[in-house]
Each structure stands twice: as structure tokens, then as C-alpha cells.
Amino acid sequence: MKKKMVGILLCLSLTTALLAGCGSTETTESTETMTETKETTEVGEEDNVIKIGLIAPVTGGYAVYGEAGQNSVLMAVEEINAMGGVQIEILNNGKAVDDAGDSKQAVNAYNSLSAENPEIYCGSFSSSCSIPMAELAQAEGKVLISPTATNFKLTLVGDYIFRACFIDPYQGKMAAKFAGEQGYTKAAVIYAKDDDYSNGLKDAFVENAEANGIEIVYTGECTSKDTDYTAQVSQAVASGADFLFYPCFLDTVPLLVQQARDAGFEGAIMGGDGWDGSNTTGLEAQFENTYFTNHYSSEDTAEEVQAYVTKYTEKYGTESLNAIGACYYDAIYMIKAAAEKSGATDTEALKAGMTGLTFSGVTGTFTLDSNGDPEKNIVINTFKNGVVSWVTTLTPEE
């Protein structure tokens, strides 16, 4: 009996759907909404709505970045949609799809979004997650912009791939330059060999060390899942280094800094933008004399930066305020700028608009080069009493 009822119901709903598709004037509420949504998808190109597939690590070790990214995107979308003009729709009901910082889950996230047919992908945070997604996007002929993947290989995947941040060769070079300027001469490097980002930064730092008068006295490996670095840091101490470069992510940074200081390392410890948001609670003393390169400084007095920082802090507090959020925020505005530049919101128009785009936002003013990489300023931060504090801003040479 039950089965029969279900069957009848199914038949009924199917016929109504059919009728609605024919444009019949039969009106029930549900059929009306159906025809409406159908029309908007059919028009597609002139709808003035950019459909974005958003990917971020909302859980896992980089959750604080995913949270910042998602919050910032929501902020940007709200602002843009209130302005009128180009509208933005984030698929998956306005939420980021989670990759948990894992490349396999990133591919799953991409595929789940692909079913919703986005016009552009925005994500993900890490290079290890973004590169496989970029390969899929390039093959499918969809634009992908990664807000924060700094590994140089990303944009070499193809002409549909862009990013909103600087690249590791540049970041590592600037770190070496900074270390040289500060008078350090013997550097130890500990890097996670299972991570694209960490490898890229290490290579760049090592390549540029000599030119800045730095000798690499020790190179140690770890993995991004490790918690014990006592072996590596004791070797770094034994090698007599006065500078330790640790290009890994925030979740392990407090562990490394504590263990390095415990082993008696008194020199400077430096990392890349992955250090942003590191938790220094209880380790304020150990975090003295540590530095990291970053996309922006929340202490910057520029109008865009202060507007972003104030608004973000009001809405979500300071706990998840970090540069990754700012990059996601800029990425959304870059997508809007690309659509405005080419005057349409479909994938090809976004690609055309994005190529060679000149953009000014929270993380600076820059132009995308032929690879789709921006060339922009880099900020060097330190920790004072456990709080991130701005040291200097370096500008690209040439």
C-alpha cells in the first residue's frame, strides 16, 4: 500500500515538472519557482551573477585559515552584492567546501563542486591541495584562482590558473635577503619533505643564501605530521647555526619553536606566510627573535587594510584574523574586477579578464604576469610578547 502511494506521488510530481517545463500556465507554488530557476540557469551568460566554487580547509590543522578564508569571502560577497552591478553566488549554499588541508579531500571537494557547474573556482589554501585541483580545472577548461597557494608550480599548470599571492621563490629569496641584512651568517634549515610549499620555500632560501652571505650548515627533514623535532633541533644547535629557517605551517610552529629553544637554540627562527596565526600562548618568551614573511600586516595604516581589519574584527573577532583571510578577500574582489574588465561573467570572460589584471586591494597593488602570478610587496613580521608585530616591508626588485 505504502509503495503504491509513493509511486502515485512520484508520478504526480513528474507530470507537474513536465508541465512546468512546457511553460504551461498551470500554477502551483512549487512549479512557479521551478520555472524561475530554470530561466536563470538558461540565460547563464548575461545573468550578471558569477557562480564561485569556494574551497578552503575548514577543518584540520589549517582550520584557522579556512575559517578566516570563509569569513572574509562572506564579507566580500555581502559587500559586492550590496553595491549592485556584478553579483556573486557562492555555490554549496554559500559555504566553502572543506579540503581539511589534504590533497585527496581537495580533489573530492573539487568534484563535488564541479557537479554544481561553477564559472570559477576559488581555492584552496595550501599548494598541496591547489595543484591537483588546478590540473582538474585546466583539463575541464574552468578558471581557478588560488588565494594563497605560493608554490610556483601552480600557475604553470595552464592558462586558466591564477593566484592572488606571491610565489615561494620570491618569498624564500626575500627571507634570505632579510637574514643577510640582519647579519646572520650560518643558517640551519628544517623543512617538511612531504609538502610542496615547504620544499619550494626551502629550495628558494637555499638558492639565495650564498648571495646574501649565508652558509647553510645543516639541512634537516621532517614531515608535516610530526610532533617531535628534538633530533633535528639538537643537530641544528650542534652545527653552530645562528639562524633557523623553518618553512612549515602554523600547527607545528609552536612545537618547533619550543623544542628549538629547549635544546638551547638562541638564534633567530624564521618561517613563511604559513606561520601567520601561530598560537603563542605560554611561549611568549620562546617566540622572541622569530620572524616570518607575510602577505600583509594588520598594522598597515593603508585605508583598505584598516577597513578590512576593522570590519573583520567587528564581525568575527581577532582570533581568526590573518593574512590568509585577506588573500581570500582580495581573490573575490579580483574575480569581480575580472568580470567588470571583460564585461561578462562566464568562464571564458573571467579568464580573459583575469589575464594581465591590475588590481589594488588589501594585500597591495599588483599586476598579474604572463603566468598569472602577482608581483607584490612582502611584509616581514616578528612576535613581540606573543603578538605579531610588523618589522619591515620589502618591495620586489628590478
Partner: protein, 295 residues
């Protein structure tokens, strides 16, 4: 030379933590012949308890290590609850069901923690502020020495407890013959519950020692650590208390020495390789006794 001393100390420190966790595996296995894969997650529970109670302790003007007692109570409660709710009903169904239930419990605790505490890793405030000692120009953290001494004290205390107290004797009787134990007036269920309470209490101590060296709590911290400690327990001879200690320290030292002197990327492969070799040569582990299996 100084690197060698430093590495020995680092290895012993890491080994003592593995040993404390391995003791928990060994206790439960020794009594009910069950591998409690959720043991690592009890440490996660302990670490999160420390994370939330240490600020309260500091706020109330008490020394932070007092939160250990809160952590012990929470862990004992969770351990006993897991035993009563999940393990007891399947005890008669055989060891395979028990093993799968333990794995399920481990996943359940991890996901529950994710819902309750969120997915962000938590940084645990400093527990001890102890001076740095200097031997032959090597800086040694006295908290490392504390970890080792706590490990040794607990192992000795457990050995004495199991050998000479009434409950300890009952604990040894239960795995030999459940029915006969019941006949001589031992409440088997109570003994098993006590074992779980002890094992989970140990997990809380292990959490304290772990967090003083690696001050971070994540929801999945228990699985990797639990696996290493399990290897340590098997290496030492699962079911044997001194075996757990020896196995733990061996695994710790091997890991550090492989990282420093052989190949840093290979430390896990070499640790597990040694486990396989030991099991091939002496299947019961280093301290394991050869007990004929009843047919």
C-alpha cells in the same frame, strides 16, 4: 659528544612517554586479552581536559599541574563509561568483535571531540616552569628528567600493585581462568572495570607528560601516538609491565637515533622494521612469556 648526550636524553624522554601509553595497552591486554585501540584517544581526552582546566587553575592561583587530577578523573570516567557501554555487551562475542568495537570507539571519541572542541588544534599552556640543567655543555630540560622519573615510578608502583595487593592478585587470576576466578569469589566484571579505570588514569598522566613536551592537543593526536605505543607494547611483550617500559624506551631511542645518525625520513620504517624482526625471532616480544594456548 654533546649531540650524543642530547640525543640520549631526547630519546629517553620520548621513550618514557611511549612507555606510559604502552602501559595502558599492556594493562588491558594482560587482563582481558583485548587490544583497546581507543586508549590513544583517552590521551586526547586527557589533553583537552588539561587545555581547559589549566587556565582555571592559574586563575584560581593554584599550580597548573593540579589539573592532572581533574584530567585523571575525566579520563577514568570516560574509560569506565566506554568499557560499560561499548565493551561489556560484546565481551562474550569474541575477540574480533571486541577489536572492532574498540576501533569504532576510537573513531567515535575523535569525532565527538571534533564536535565538542572544534577542529582547531589547541595550544596547551606551560605546565611546569623548571630550570635548565647543564651537563658537559649540554642543555637538558629538567622536565625531561621529570617525565622519565614519573614513568619509572609508575611502572614500579604498578608492578608492586599487581604482585602484592588483593586486587592485583585478582587481576592476575582473571586472565588465567575466568570461571575459576568467579568460583573463588572474584567479581570478574569489577576487576575489568578497575583495570580500565587504572589504564585510563595512566592515559591522563601520559597526556600531562606528552603536553609538557609537545604542548598541542588535536582531535587525532591519539591515533598516531597510540600506534607507536602499541608497537612499543608488542615489542616489549604485550601483557608484561616491565616489557612496556623497555619497549617504549627502545622505540623512543631508536626513533631519535635514526633521525640524528641514519636517515631522518626513514625513522618510522626502521622502527616498524625492528618490530617485525623482533616478532620473527621472538614472537612474544622481549619480555613476553611463552604461554601455551589452551585448545
Amino acid at each position: 659528544m654533546s649531540l650524543l648526550i642530547q640525543s640520549v636524553v631526547n630519546g629517553l624522554n620520548q621513550g618514557a612517554i611511549y612507555a606510559l601509553i604502552a602501559l595502558g595497552y599492556t594493562m588491558v591486554y594482560g587482563i582481558i586479552r583485548m587490544i583497546n585501540f581507543a586508549h590513544g584517544d583517552f590521551i586526547m581526552v586527557g589533553s583537552y581536559t588539561l587545555f581547559y582546566t589549566i587556565p582555571l587553575m592559574i586563575h584560581a592561583g593554584m599550580p597548573p599541574w593540579l589539573s592532572l587530577f581533574v584530567a585523571i578523573s575525566v579520563c577514568v570516567f570516560v574509560g569506565v563509561a566506554v568499557e560499560m557501554i561499548a565493551y561489556k555487551p560484546v565481551r562474550k562475542a569474541g575477540s574480533m568483535s571486541a577489536l572492532i568495537t574498540a576501533l569504532a570507539m576510537s573513531l567515535f571519541l575523535q569525532n565527538l571531540a571534533m564536535v565538542l572542541f572544534g577542529a582547531n588544534p589547541k595550544s596547551i599552556p606551560a605546565i611546569f616552569t623548571l630550570p635548565v640543567l647543564e651537563f658537559f655543555g649540554v642543555k637538558i630540560q629538567s622536565k625531561y628528567l621529570l617525565t622519565m622519573s614519573i614513568g619509572i615510578v609508575i611502572m614500579l608502583a604498578l608492578s608492586i600493585f599487581v604482585k602484592s595487593t588483593r586486587i592485583g592478585k585478582a587481576m592476575r587470576a582473571v586472565p588465567q581462568d575466568k570461571q575459576a576466578s568467579t568460583l573463588v569469589g572474584i567479581s570478574v566484571n569489577r576487576i575489568i572495570t578497575t583495570t580500565f579505570a587504572l589504564g585510563s588514569g595512566l592515559a591522563a598522566v601520559a597526556a600531562l607528560m606528552y603536553c609538557s613536551t609537545y604542548p598541542r592537543a588535536t582531535i587525532d593526536m591519539g591515533s598516531m601516538m597510540g600506534l607507536k605505543a602499541f608497537v612499543a607494547a608488542v615489542l616489549g611483550g604485550i601483557g608484561s609491565i616491565p616489557g612496556a617500559m623497555i619497549g617504549g624506551i627502545l622505540v623512543g631511542i631508536i626513533e631519535i637515533f635514526v633521525k640524528v645518525y641514519i636517515a631522518p625520513g626513514w625513522y618510522e620504517a626502521i622502527t616498524y622494521g625492528i618490530l617485525i624482526i623482533v616478532l620473527l625471532v621472538k614472537p612474544t616480544g622481549i619480555m613476553g612469556k611463552n604461554i601455551g594456548v589452551k585448545v
